[in-house]
């Protein structure tokens, strides 16, 4: 390889007048030439001449020899570029996405594994789950079931010794909790007017608080209605009973948050078990279903003794009694004939 190159170089360095000189003398001359001799510009050679053809073939030989000399580095670099373009870069670029996929799939697998484990446990305690569902549905019913609710409240009032003289209802919605724990549900608001004693009021309040279906005392007020009959009091209640229709669907990839062994859940279930159940389908047909007008509904809870401080007690009592007990007598008749 290097011999051919040497020859080509020697020929290239040969001056023009010595063009036809033998190769030996040429090499001798070039060997004798001092290294720092000025380089003469090559003469202009007309294309197509014999000389030009020879130059071209010399250049080609030089090029080929250069290629042959550097074949290994060239092949290596080309291979490096190929590997870089075809293997390294695609693999490198795909790794973040693949890693993200892997993390996602791993999380999903863990979720599903936990879910399956949880569901298998729920399957083992299927009876308990169904029992708990039934209990919860008794306290938080799925429909408004107004007749049953009014029957329950009327029964509670009468059992407590209060006499009911007004009972009507309205439908609405409410929420409890805040932020992430905010729970929204529908409500039946019941306005109840009764008369009785303070002790009976307390008993009724306890009964309501312990009743299933759930009834919440939103507001109440009382005033002396009849001093002659042992300080009988007229009590007005605003009661709220929540109901919620839930229709869940199976979400395969979603986790199940229910843990029947959870302490809070157990406390809740025990609390429900301690409540007194009233069958919502047991209806007292003698109780008419009177739906309160919106105005009445909103004013019912507001109409409290918020009079000006200057108002005398007598005036307040008179206003309260006139506004409540006066109208209630008629309604008592209409509700409970």
């Amino acid at each position: 390889m290097t011999n051919g190159q040497e020859k080509a170089q020697a020929e290239a360095q040969q001056p023009v007048p010595q063009e036809t000189a033998p190769k030996q003398s040429t090499s001798k001359q070039s060997a004798q030439t001092p290294p720092k001799a000025p380089i003469k510009a090559p003469p202009i050679v007309a294309p197509g001449t014999k000389k030009a053809k020879k130059d071209m073939s010399v250049n080609m030989i030089m090029f080929k020899e250069a290629i042959i000399n550097y074949i290994v580095p060239i092949v290596c670099l080309a291979s490096s570029i190929l590997i870089g373009v075809l293997v390294l870069m695609p693999s490198y670029n795909s790794i973040p996405q693949l890693s993200a996929d892997l993390d996602e799939k791993t999380m999903l697998e863990i979720t599903l594994r936990n879910k399956l484990s949880n569901m298998n446990r729920l399957l083992d305690f299927k009876g308990i789950v169904e029992e708990n569902s039934e209990l919860v549905n008794k306290v938080l019913v799925s429909e408004e079931l107004v007749p049953g609710l009014l029957t329950q409240i009327d029964k509670l009032a009468r059992q407590s010794g209060l006499s009911v003289n007004r009972l009507n209802y309205g439908l609405g919605s409410s929420s409890s909790g805040d932020g992430k724990n905010k729970a929204e549900y529908n409500t039946v608001t019941v306005n109840l007017g009764t008369t009785g004693s303070f002790a009976q009021l307390k008993t009724f309040m306890e009964s309501v608080e312990n009743a299933a279906r759930l009834v919440i005392v939103d507001n109440f007020r009382y005033s002396i209605s009849n001093r002659d009959e042992g300080n009988e009091i007229a009590v007005n209640f605003v009661l709220i009973s929540p109901y919620l229709y839930v229709e869940s669907s199976a979400v395969t990839d979603g986790p199940i948050d229910l843990d029947i062994a959870d302490e809070d859940f157990q406390i809740l279930i025990n609390k429900i078990k301690g409540m007194k159940y009233y069958n919502p389908y047991e209806i007292d047909t003698s109780i008419p279903l009177i739906e309160a007008s919106e105005e009445e509904e909103s004013e019912e809870g507001e109409e409290v003794l918020e009079g000006t401080p200057a108002e005398t007690t007598e005036e307040i009592i008179e206003e309260t009694l006139e506004g409540e007990t006066g109208d209630e007598t008629d309604e008592t008749e209409s509700i409970f004939p």
Binding site: T2, Q5, E6, Q9, A31, P35, N69, V72, P73, V75, C76, L77, S79, S80, I83, G84, V87, L88, Y92, I95, L98, L102, K105, E109, L112, R113, M119, K126, V129, E130, N132, S133, N137, L140, S176, A183, Y185, K202, M205, E206, R221, S223, I224, L244, V246, E247, S248, A250, T252, I256, F265, L268, V304, L305, E306, P309, T312, T313, I316, T320
Partner: protein, 183 residues
């Protein structure tokens, strides 16, 4: 001083340099190739490994999904129960037990005081009007209310003596803490 004379011909020296350059570039190129191949191989292996892991997880996930789908009835039941129990828990947390308030109120009323009317306001206050035998009885009632846990503040809004009936009418506003009335 000994002088050294380089007897190697110029062409030979050029040739030696060229040989060195070729050798060096060959080593360098091989080195680059080895590094690129190594790094490429590493990333390729890593990518393939991750792909295999993802594939394996896909299989596992599919199997788990199939198992879970078989239990869809249980899942629906559990979800319904969870939703309702969560709402119920939230309601119970904020449920005020007014029976407790009434008990505390009853325990605070002295014999000399009679409540004529009682009402709750939305701003966690209750308005009480009544009659007492003396001013001191009203004061005593206020003091006894403040001794009880749920009551925070008692504001005497009006008090008037009815001389012909020998009694004092009063109207007070009592602030209470709802938290004390939770279950």
């Amino acid at each position: 001083m000994v002088e050294t004379i380089n007897l190697i011909p110029q062409e030979e020296r050029v040739q030696q340099t060229k040989t060195k350059v070729v050798k060096l570039s060959t080593y360098l190129a091989i080195g680059i190739l080895v590094i690129v191949a190594g790094v490429g191989g590493y990333f390729f292996y890593k990518a393939q490994t991750i792909k295999e892991q993802v594939k394996s997880l896909d299989g596992s996930v599919s199997a788990l999904r199939a198992d879970i789908n078989k239990l869809s009835d249980i899942e629906i039941n559990a979800r319904n129960l969870y939703t309702k129990s969560t709402v119920l828990g939230s309601i119970f947390e904020s449920k005020v037990f007014y029976s407790q308030l009434l008990k505390e109120l009853e325990a605070s009323i002295p014999d000399t005081v009679k409540i004529n009317s009682f009402s709750l306001s939305n701003d966690l206050t209750m308005s009480i009007s009544g009659e007492a035998s003396t001013y001191n009885a009203v004061q005593d009632f206020s003091n006894r209310l403040l001794e009880r846990e749920p009551f925070i503040e008692v504001e005497l809004n009006s008090v008037g003596l009815e001389s012909h009936q020998d009694k004092v009418n009063f109207f007070i506003v009592v602030s209470y803490s709802e938290e004390m009335l939770y279950d």
